[in-house]
């Protein structure tokens, strides 16, 4: 083999490795679309999240972090949204009251984005959330 063809081969191998996401996508049968999320449970007849949905998609982890700091460090438990509604700053008590089906909501989206929050090591998931999710989670 001449050095020219050896170099071409090396370059080809590099490009093949770089195209990993492409052939991984061809090989995998998983749905690459954004996952379908469970609707929030409208116990209080809620039509929207505590803040604008688009903002929540991007910033909910920041909000939770602020809540946590505020509760654990400052003992301040009430939060007022931009629309003036007051909410109890609680992961289980507030978020999961509406989003009770965590498996098909939080976890489904987190699996897609490959984030594994450690919150559930300590915080409880309301009954029904886990089991209901367990059934519908492929």
């Amino acid at each position: 083999m001449t050095s020219r063809s050896r170099i071409a081969l090396g370059l080809g191998v590099f490009f093949l490795l770089g195209a990993y996401p492409v052939w991984n996508g061809l090989a995998s049968s998983a749905d690459p679309e954004r996952p379908e999320l469970a609707r929030a449970v409208d116990s209080a007849g809620a039509t929207g999240c505590i803040e604008d949905t688009t903002w929540m998609k991007a910033n909910h982890q920041k909000l939770l972090n602020e809540w946590r700091t505020s509760v654990v460090r400052d003992g301040q438990r009430t939060w007022v949204s931009s629309t003036g509604t007051s909410w109890d700053m609680s992961l289980t008590g507030t978020c999961l009251k509406c989003h009770a089906n965590t498996e098909t909501f939080c976890t489904r989206c987190h699996d897609y984005a490959d984030v594994q929050p450690t919150c559930w090591n300590c915080h409880v998931v309301p009954e029904g959330g886990q089991s209901e999710g367990g059934q519908s989670h492929e």
Partner: protein
């Protein structure tokens, strides 16, 4: 001046990426430019590298800095002065993975009390190692946006990278190291007069480009967030060749993406092509076995020779007639 030009250039490009999507159809910055950039990257790199591959190497020209293979009782320094393929492989691996040549960097200083002094200077090596390895980890982590389901090694890398568990989302070690290393490499060019003297606009451009990409990425993760699921939707649709552009992705993301596109296009054109180049450095990737193995210069054309046997065949009768000795009667 060099610094300012490059800084303004990168800032301008970033602004194009940030505000461009606002005035063009969504597919221009989200789909067309990334595809074009990857194509130019592949074609550009192939042309550049195959161009190098076409250059003939007339001699074996390894750089040597150690005892070469000699008598059996003299210890050879195999990595410094390789004589076999396997030694060369070792030397290349150390060069590519650990930048061994950079570790040889020395600094010369004129001191009042001691005159001219030389010393080992590992700061460039350390900065380069930190930058490149952190970049590798960052690239690996980004695979989470291009694969579904995400392979275990990507998740593992993310976990390892975020082991400090500081902040929410957790701060990745590689982000911090990458940013600090880049800032050090920039500082080095700016602070030392002699390095500044030999620095070209391109040197700063590469640094500012990487800084812009890293800065916008970190900013997006920790300060002003965007819908990551939407970003993944876009990224994965691009690698599945069925592009969809989700709504509601922040302009900051498009600034980040556009700088990445610029990097991809620029990569094969400029100094960053040292990445494939290091594999092709003849002074590093050849064995020092000139006296043991014949090396054929590719420039050699077939020389027409006239052997003594042919000479004798031609002049045999005349030679015998003249009484000259011949090998064959």
């Amino acid at each position: 001046m060099n610094v300012l030009i490059s800084l303004l250039l990168v800032a301008g490009l970033f602004a194009v990426g940030m505000f461009g999507p606002g005035v063009t159809p969504a597919w221009v910055f989200a789909v067309a430019l990334p595809y074009a950039a990857v194509t130019l990257f592949v074609v550009g790199l192939a042309i550049r590298v195959m161009g190098w591959a076409g250059v003939p190497v007339p001699f074996r020209i390894p750089t040597t800095c150690g005892q070469q293979k000699s008598l059996p009782w003299i210890r050879q320094q195999r990595l410094e002065n390789p004589s076999r393929k396997i030694h060369v492989l070792g030397r290349m691996a150390l060069e590519i993975l650990f930048f061994r040549s950079l570790a040889r960097n020395t600094r010369t200083e004129l001191r009042k009390d001691r005159g001219l002094v030389y010393g080992t200077d590992l700061s460039l090596w350390a900065g380069a190692m930190a930058m490149h390895w952190a970049l590798a980890v960052v690239l690996l982590r980004h695979l989470r946006l291009f694969t579904e389901p995400v392979p275990a090694f990507v998740t593992f890398t993310e976990k390892l990278d975020g082991f400090l568990e500081i902040g929410l989302p957790v701060i990745n070690v590689s982000s911090v190291v990458f940013l600090c290393a880049l800032l050090y490499l920039l500082y080095r060019r700016l602070a030392h007069a002699h390095v500044r003297y030999i620095s070209l606009p391109e040197d700063y451009f590469a640094l500012f480009l990487l800084l812009g990409i890293a800065g916008s990425g970190i900013w997006m993760r920790h300060l002003s967030h965007t819908d990551i699921a939407g970003v993944k939707e876009l990224a994965i649709s691009l690698v599945h060749f069925s592009p969809t552009v989700p709504v509601g992705i922040e302009p900051l993301f498009y600034g980040h993406l556009f700088l990445v596109c610029v990097l991809l296009v620029y990569f094969p054109l400029g100094k960053l092509a040292h990445a494939p180049g290091v594999f092709l450095s003849p002074t590093r990737n050849m064995a020092n076995n000139n006296r043991a193995v014949r090396y054929v210069n590719p420039w050699d054309y077939p020389v027409k020779v006239h052997t003594y046997e042919e000479y004798e065949d031609e002049f045999r009768e005349k030679m015998i007639a003249a009484g000259l000795p011949v090998d064959e009667e």
